[in-house]
Symmetry: D4
Subunit: 254 residues, 8 copies
Amino acid sequence: MNKNRLTRILRNLQRGDISVDDATDKLTHFVDEDISFATIDHHRSLRKGFPEVIFGEGKTSDQIIGILNKMIPQEEVVLATRVDTEKARCILSAIPMCRYDEEARMIIWAPHTPEPTGHGTVLVLSAGTSDIPVAREALLTAQYMGNRVQAVFDVGVAGIHRLLSQRDALERATVIIVVAGMEGALPSVVAGMVNTPVIAVPTSIGYGVSLGGKTALYGMLSSCSSNIAVVNIDNGFGAGYMASSINHISISAS
Amino acid sequence: MNKNRLTRILRNLQRGDISVDDATDKLTHFVDEDISFATIDHHRSLRKGFPEVIFGEGKTSDQIIGILNKMIPQEEVVLATRVDTEKARCILSAIPMCRYDEEARMIIWAPHTPEPTGHGTVLVLSAGTSDIPVAREALLTAQYMGNRVQAVFDVGVAGIHRLLSQRDALERATVIIVVAGMEGALPSVVAGMVNTPVIAVPTSIGYGVSLGGKTALYGMLSSCSSNIAVVNIDNGFGAGYMASSINHISISAS
Amino acid sequence: MNKNRLTRILRNLQRGDISVDDATDKLTHFVDEDISFATIDHHRSLRKGFPEVIFGEGKTSDQIIGILNKMIPQEEVVLATRVDTEKARCILSAIPMCRYDEEARMIIWAPHTPEPTGHGTVLVLSAGTSDIPVAREALLTAQYMGNRVQAVFDVGVAGIHRLLSQRDALERATVIIVVAGMEGALPSVVAGMVNTPVIAVPTSIGYGVSLGGKTALYGMLSSCSSNIAVVNIDNGFGAGYMASSINHISISAS
Amino acid sequence: MNKNRLTRILRNLQRGDISVDDATDKLTHFVDEDISFATIDHHRSLRKGFPEVIFGEGKTSDQIIGILNKMIPQEEVVLATRVDTEKARCILSAIPMCRYDEEARMIIWAPHTPEPTGHGTVLVLSAGTSDIPVAREALLTAQYMGNRVQAVFDVGVAGIHRLLSQRDALERATVIIVVAGMEGALPSVVAGMVNTPVIAVPTSIGYGVSLGGKTALYGMLSSCSSNIAVVNIDNGFGAGYMASSINHISISAS
Amino acid sequence: MNKNRLTRILRNLQRGDISVDDATDKLTHFVDEDISFATIDHHRSLRKGFPEVIFGEGKTSDQIIGILNKMIPQEEVVLATRVDTEKARCILSAIPMCRYDEEARMIIWAPHTPEPTGHGTVLVLSAGTSDIPVAREALLTAQYMGNRVQAVFDVGVAGIHRLLSQRDALERATVIIVVAGMEGALPSVVAGMVNTPVIAVPTSIGYGVSLGGKTALYGMLSSCSSNIAVVNIDNGFGAGYMASSINHISISAS
Amino acid sequence: MNKNRLTRILRNLQRGDISVDDATDKLTHFVDEDISFATIDHHRSLRKGFPEVIFGEGKTSDQIIGILNKMIPQEEVVLATRVDTEKARCILSAIPMCRYDEEARMIIWAPHTPEPTGHGTVLVLSAGTSDIPVAREALLTAQYMGNRVQAVFDVGVAGIHRLLSQRDALERATVIIVVAGMEGALPSVVAGMVNTPVIAVPTSIGYGVSLGGKTALYGMLSSCSSNIAVVNIDNGFGAGYMASSINHISISAS
Amino acid sequence: MNKNRLTRILRNLQRGDISVDDATDKLTHFVDEDISFATIDHHRSLRKGFPEVIFGEGKTSDQIIGILNKMIPQEEVVLATRVDTEKARCILSAIPMCRYDEEARMIIWAPHTPEPTGHGTVLVLSAGTSDIPVAREALLTAQYMGNRVQAVFDVGVAGIHRLLSQRDALERATVIIVVAGMEGALPSVVAGMVNTPVIAVPTSIGYGVSLGGKTALYGMLSSCSSNIAVVNIDNGFGAGYMASSINHISISAS
Amino acid sequence: MNKNRLTRILRNLQRGDISVDDATDKLTHFVDEDISFATIDHHRSLRKGFPEVIFGEGKTSDQIIGILNKMIPQEEVVLATRVDTEKARCILSAIPMCRYDEEARMIIWAPHTPEPTGHGTVLVLSAGTSDIPVAREALLTAQYMGNRVQAVFDVGVAGIHRLLSQRDALERATVIIVVAGMEGALPSVVAGMVNTPVIAVPTSIGYGVSLGGKTALYGMLSSCSSNIAVVNIDNGFGAGYMASSINHISISAS
C-alpha cells in the first residue's frame, strides 16, 4: 500500500504531473509515515501466529472483554494473563470461544493449537507446588507461540535426587525455563548440569526476607553458572516468550 | 576409562574371579565416582573448545599466573576477566603466550582463534563509551566460544537516530547482547525493533540513584518488551556465555 | 488593612499622640503579623486563577465535600485529585456544580474553563495505557492553571516508530510532560529529540522490580539526556503545576 | 547537502535518467540516512552555542585532553565537569587556553563568555558550604549556556532568617536552582515563597541516614510545594542545563 | 515485705535458729527475687501517675476490653492508642467510664485529668492536616503524664510565615514536639529558631518516595540543627512520653 | 544598632523630617533586615558559652585552621569534630592554644573549661570499646556546653551484669546518652531501668547486616521502651548537644 | 529391595543369563534410580516420627483438607502451620481427629503425643505478648518432633529483671529458642548469660522502621554474642525443627 | 572469694560481732557485686578452654599486640580474626609464640592444641575457592574450642556431583557448617541431604546484586530446608562458635 503510494508519487513526477518541489514536499512528509509502516509491517510478519497478550491484573473483566473483542478478529492467538477465577467466569460467559486454564490463571483464545515451529523442545521446571501458576503461564505461552513443550514440576533443591532423576529430560531440551521462589537455587543447579540456555524465573513465593521474590531474583542473577539469564519476578509470560524467541532463532547458511 | 572399569568388574564377575558380594561392594562405591565421572565427562564434551574463565578481580597477578599455568595444559582456550593493566603486565611477562585486551580488561590464552560453530551472528550493542569494557568482554567471550560476532558501540537512546541507522545489523543478528548503564533503556528499544532474543547487561556506570547499576538492572527486568532476559551487573562474560549457548542450541530433527 | 494599621501608628507618632518608645514597641510586635500579611497577600496575587487542590486519597467523600464547600466561595478553580468513582458520585450529588473526570480521577469545580495565559503549549506524552490516569491528571491540572494543552498517549519505547511519528507535536511544544511506568525509558528518548524542558513523571505501573515506580523514577533521574527534571511517583498534579510554572515564567526586559 | 541529494534523485527521474524502480530503491535507502541527517542537523541548530560536556570522573587527564582536542575545533563552548585539582593541572599545561574553576571542579574552554540569550535570570541558592561545588557547577553551566546568573550561597533552613532576607533576589529570578544536602529541606521552603519554577538538586553531603544524598532527594520529591522538579544527586550540570532550557522556552505568538 | 524477709533470715541466724549454711542457701535464692522486687518497686514508684498504654492496632476490641479491665483497678491512667472508631464504639459500650478521642484515635481511662507536675509546657507542632492524629496522640499522652500542653497545628514549611508568626509559642515552650510527614523539614526549621529540646516525629503521610515515613525520618535524623532527637514513624505516644520524661528531669542541688 | 536605626526613622518622622509615606516605605524594607537582626541576636544570647562546631571530615587541615582562626576571636569555645591524628598535628602546630583529644578525634579551643550550668549530670554509656570515639565526642560536647558529665564505657548487653552493677550511676543521672553499634540493644535495656530521658546514638561499628549502623539505628527507634529518642549514626556531637539542651530546659514558675 | 535388584542383575551375569553389555546397560540406568532410592530411604529413616508440615498461609481450607487426607495414612504426625480460626473450623469439621491450637495457629494430627527422644530440654523464650503465636509454633513443633519443651513468655529487655529471674530455666535448657520482634535485643542478652546454643527467631511485630521484622533479624545477626544462629522472620516452625535437630545430634563413641 | 565474704558476714552476725542492721546493709550492697561475681564465674567455668577472640579488622597491629599481651597470661587459647599479612608480621615479631594462619587470616596463641571434647565431628563445607578464608576461620575456631573438625572445600552447586560424592562425610558429621557466597544455594541442598543441624554462613563474595553477601544471606534464611540456621555475613568465627556450642550440648539423664 505504502509502497504503492511511493511509486505513485514517483510516477507522477516522471509523467510531469507534479514538480520536483512537490515531490520533495510529499516525500518529506512520507518519511515518518514510512517508518511507521515499515516497522509495523515488519513486526507483524515476524509475529505471525504469535500471541498478543493482555495483562489482566488490575483490569476489570469488562475491560478485558472489551480488549478481547477488539483483538480476536485480527489475531490468531490471544492470551490474557493473571486472570482470577471470578473474572474468568465473566469473560467466558461473554466470549464462550475462549477457554480458561485455572492453574495458569490464563484466558486463551485460539481457534486451533498452533503447530510447533521451533527448533526443539522448551522444558519448564519448577521448584515448589506454589510456583506452578507461574510455571504453567510460561508453558502455555511457549506452546501457543509454536513450541513443543514439556513440564517437570516440583523438583526443588531440598530433595536434589528428584532433579537428578530428570537428567534425560534436561538433556533432551533445547531451552529450559526454571521457575523457583524462596532462595531460588534451582536454576544454578540445573544450569550446572547442562549446556542449554536456561531462562530463570523468580517467583514471589516465600515470606520474611524472601522479599516478595527479590531474594530469588538476586540469587539467580548471582548464579555461579553462566548459561543463565533472568526475567522479572513472576513473569512466566516473558520467560515463555523469550524461550520461544530462542527456540526460533534464525539459522544462517554461512 | 570409567566405563572400562565397570566392564572390568563385570567381566571379573562373569569369569568367576570375584563373587557377587565383591561386585556389589565395588559397584556401590562406584556409584558416586560414576556420577562424578559421568557429569564431568558430559560437561567436558559439551564444553569442548569453550573457554574456562578466571575471575581476576580480587586475585593477585601471582594467583592468576598460578591458575593459568595449571589450566593451560588441559584447555584449548583460557580467559581471565577483570584484569587491570598492571596485573596484565606481570602476567604477560610470566606467560608470554597470553595476550591482553586492554579495553576488555581480559587475558586470553588460545593457540588459535576458535572457528565459528554457532548458528549465526552474535551482535553486541552498547549505549555509552563507558560501557565499552563490559561490551567488549561479552564480545570476546562469545568470539572465543566459537561465535561469529559484530559490535556496534555508542548507540544510546538519547540520540535514537544512531540506533535506527543500525537496523540492518539488528535484523541480521541471531542473538543480540545490549550493554547499558544509567537508566538502561536501550534493551527495551532494541527488543521492540526485532524478534531476536536479547540479552541485556546492566553496567555500573552512573552516579546517585543509578545505584551502581541496579537502576539499569531493574529497568531492564521491567521492560515492556518481552524478548529480553537479563544478567548480573557488569557481567559481560555471562552475557557472552549465554549468547553463545543460545547460538549453539541443538536443532532436533522432528 | 494591615498597611492601614502601620499608617495609623506612624500618624499617631507624627501627631505626637504616642512616643517613639511606644511606636517602637508596637512596631516590634507588628513585624510578625506583617510577615504573615505580606506573604499571604503576595501568594494570593501570584496564584490568581490557579487552582487550589485537595489530595483526595485517604479522605472520605464527606471530608472532601466539607473542604470543597469552604473553598468554592473563595477560589476560581478547585481541583480534587485521586477521587475514585464511588466517592465522586457522593460528591457530585452534594455539589452538582462540580464535574468528574473519571479517567483522571479528578473532581473539578470551575465556573468557566480558564483562558490560556502561558507562553506556549504544554504537551503531555504517556507510555502505556495504564499510565493514562496520571497523564490526564497532569493535563487537566495544566489546563485549569491557564495553559494550552495537547495529549499524545500510548507512545512507549518498545514501539519507537509511534513516538517518531509525533515529531511535529514534540517540536511545537513549549514544555513537555512525559508519563511512564515500568522501566521509565520514554523521557530519555523524548529529551534526546528536542531541546524543550521535559518534566518526567514516573508511575507505579509494573510489578516485581518495578518497585512501585521507583525503578522508573531512578531511571528518569539517571537519564543520559540533560533537559529533564523529575517529580514524585504518580504525581501528575505536580507535573502539571511545574509545567504551568515554566510556561508562565516572567520575561524580563533587559 | 542531503536535500540536494534528494533533489538530484528526483531530477534524474524527471529527466528519465533513472527508472521509477531505481528511484524507489535509492529512496528506501535514503530514509535511514535522512533520519540521522535530520535529527543531527536539528540538534546542532538547537544546541548552537550550548556547551558540550565531558563527565570527568573516572577519566584520566590524558583521556580528557584527548576528548577536548577533538571537540574544541567543532564547538563554541566545551565544559569538563568533576575534574580534581591534580587532573586540572595536567589538562591546563596541555591545553593552556582552558581555564579551571577550582570550586566548581570544572574545566572551561570558551573563546569568549556567551552573551545572555535567555528570558531572565537563573538564581542558584545553596544550603551549606559543602554544597558549593555542586551549586557552582550549576551556575557556570547556566552561564555558559547563555543565561544571566546570580548566586546566593549558605542559606540553610536551620537559620531561616538568612533565606528570608533574600526575598528580593527570589522574586526577581525567572528560574531558581536550589542545591541542598542532608535533609534537603530548602527547596520546599523556597518554592513556598515564590511561584517561579524551582529545580532542586540534592547533594551527597551528610553521613549516616543521609544515604549519600538519597534522603535529600526523596525529601525534595516528597515536597509539599508543587513548583518543584528534581535532578539526580550532585547533578549540578543537569540542573544548570534544565534551568537554561526553561529560561529559553519558545514564546509562541498565539 | 522483702526487706522483712531478709531481716527475718538474719534474725534467725543471729538467734541460732538456722546455720550459716542454711542462711547462705536462703540468701542465694533471695538474690534473684530481690532484684525483681527492687526493680519492680523502683519502676512503680517512678511511674506513679504515668499512664499505662495498650497498643490497639492489631488487637480486637474484645482483647482491648480484657486488658483494660485488668489494668483499670491498678492504675490511675490507662491509654489505648490506635483504636479506630468502630472498635472504640464496642469498648465504650463495655466500659462506659472510658472516653474516646476520635482525632487521636485514643481510648482514655482516667478518673480525673492529672495535675501538671512538669517543669514547663510541652508544645506540639504539626505540619499538615493529615499529621494531626499523630500530633494529638503525642499531646494527650503528654497531658495525661502530667504536663501542661499547647498545640499549634498546620504550620508546614511551604508557608513559612505561618510558622514565623508562632515565635512566641516556640520561645515559651520547655520541650517542643514537631510532627511532620512527606519531606519532614519542619523540625529543622523549628530547631534553628529555638534552643529548646525538639522531639521530631515523622509520620507515614505521603506517597511514592515518601516511603511510608522513612524519608521524613531520615531527613529529621540528617537535620542540620543539633537540638533534635527522633522517634519512630507515627510514634506520637513515644514522643509524648519522651517529652514528659524531659519535662520531669530531676533538678539536682549541686 | 538596628534598634538605633528604627528609633532614628521614628524620630525623623516625629520631627517632621520625613513623611508618613517615607516612613512606611523605609519600615517595609526594614522588616526583613529586622528579622535577621532579631534572630541572630536571639540566637547569640541563647548560645552564649555554647561551642561552635566544625565538622572536620572531608576538610583539609588548612581549611580547618582557616575556620578556627576566623571563629576563635568571636567565640568562647570552638570544637572541631572527626579530626584524625595527622590533621590534628598540623592544626596544633598552627594554633598551639588548641588541644586534641585523640580518642574523641576532637580539636578543642577553650581558654577555660566552662562551669557546669545545667540542672544535673549527663551520663554517657557505651556498649563496646569500638564505640568509645563516638561516646567521648558526646561527652566532651556536653562538658564544653556547660554540663557536669560522667562516663561508663564498655557495658554491652552480652554481659548484662556489668550494666546492672552501674545502677547507681544510672539513677543519679539527669539525662543519659547511650552509644551502641551492632544490634544496638543497650538503650532499650537502660531505658527500661530508669525514667530519665535517654538519647540513643547508633554507631557504624559492625559488619554484614549491621549495615553501617542502620541496624542499630532501626533497633533503637523500634525500642519497646518509650523514654528514648535517637540521633543520626555516629552523631556523638548531636547527642551531647541534645543532652545539654535537655539539661538546660527552662524551669517556669507556675 | 533395590539391593536385591542389584544382586539379581549380578547373579544373572554370573550365571551367564545376561551379557556384560546388558549388565552395563542395566546398571547405567540403575544409577539414577539408586540415587533416588537411597536418598528417599535415608530421609525416611531419619525423619521417622518427625512431623510433616503444611504451610497453611495462602491455601484454602479445602486444599489443606486434601493434603491432610493424603498424608495422614502415611505419617505419624502431621502439622499445618499458619491456619486462621475460620479455616481451622472447616478443617476440624472435615477431619475431627485433628486438634487446633489457636494461639499457635496450628492444626495437629497425631494419634499420640510423641515420646521425648532428644538429649535434653528445648526452652522457648519470647519477648512480647504479640510474639506468642510464633513462640508457640516453635514450641509445638519441637514437642511433636520428640523433645521435652518448656516455655517462658513475656520476658522483654525493657524489664530485664523478669529475664534475670529465669536464670534457672536458662541454665537447665539444652537448646534455647528466643522469639522477639521490634528491636530484637533479647537473644543477645540471653546468649550472654548461657553457653547453650540459641536459635533466634525475629517476628514481624512492630511498625515504622521495624520493617516487618527485618530490624529484629539484622539485630540478631549482628549480635555481640556468638552462640546464636538465626532463622527467617516469623519462622517458628523452622526454629522448632532446628532446635530438635540440635537436641538429637548423634553422639559418636570416639 | 565472694562466697567467703558472704560466709564471713553471716559468721560475724552469728557471733554477734555485727548487728542485723549492719548485716542487712552489707548484704544490700553485696547483691550487685554478687550478680557480677556469679555471672562472671559462671561464664568462666563454662568457657574453660574456649578461645577468647579479638576482632582484628580496624585495629592496628599495636592495638592487637597490646590486647594479646593482656589476655595471654589469663587464657588458654586466644584467637585474633581478620588480621592481614602485614599486621600479622608485626604481631609475630612482637609475640613469637603466636602462629599465623594466612588462609584464615587468624593469629592463634595456644600452648597446645585443645583436646576434642565435643560429642562428634564438625564438618565445614565451602562452595567456592574465594569462600575459603571464612570457611577456614570457622574450622580453626571450632578446632580451638575443642572439636574434632573436617573440611571439604569447593563443592558448589553448579557442579552438584562434587557434593554428592561427599555423602559419607555429610552423614558422619554431628554438625555441618556450610559457607557460600553469590547465590548461597549450597546450604539448602546440603540440609536436604541430611538431618544434622546446618549452620549457614553467607560470604561477601560476588558482585552486582550479590549485594555484598546479602543475597546469599537472604537465600539461606529463605531456604526450603528446615534444619538450617544462619549467622552474619563472613562470620566464620560465629559459625565455629555456634557449631561448638551445639557439639557440646549438655546431655541430661532423664
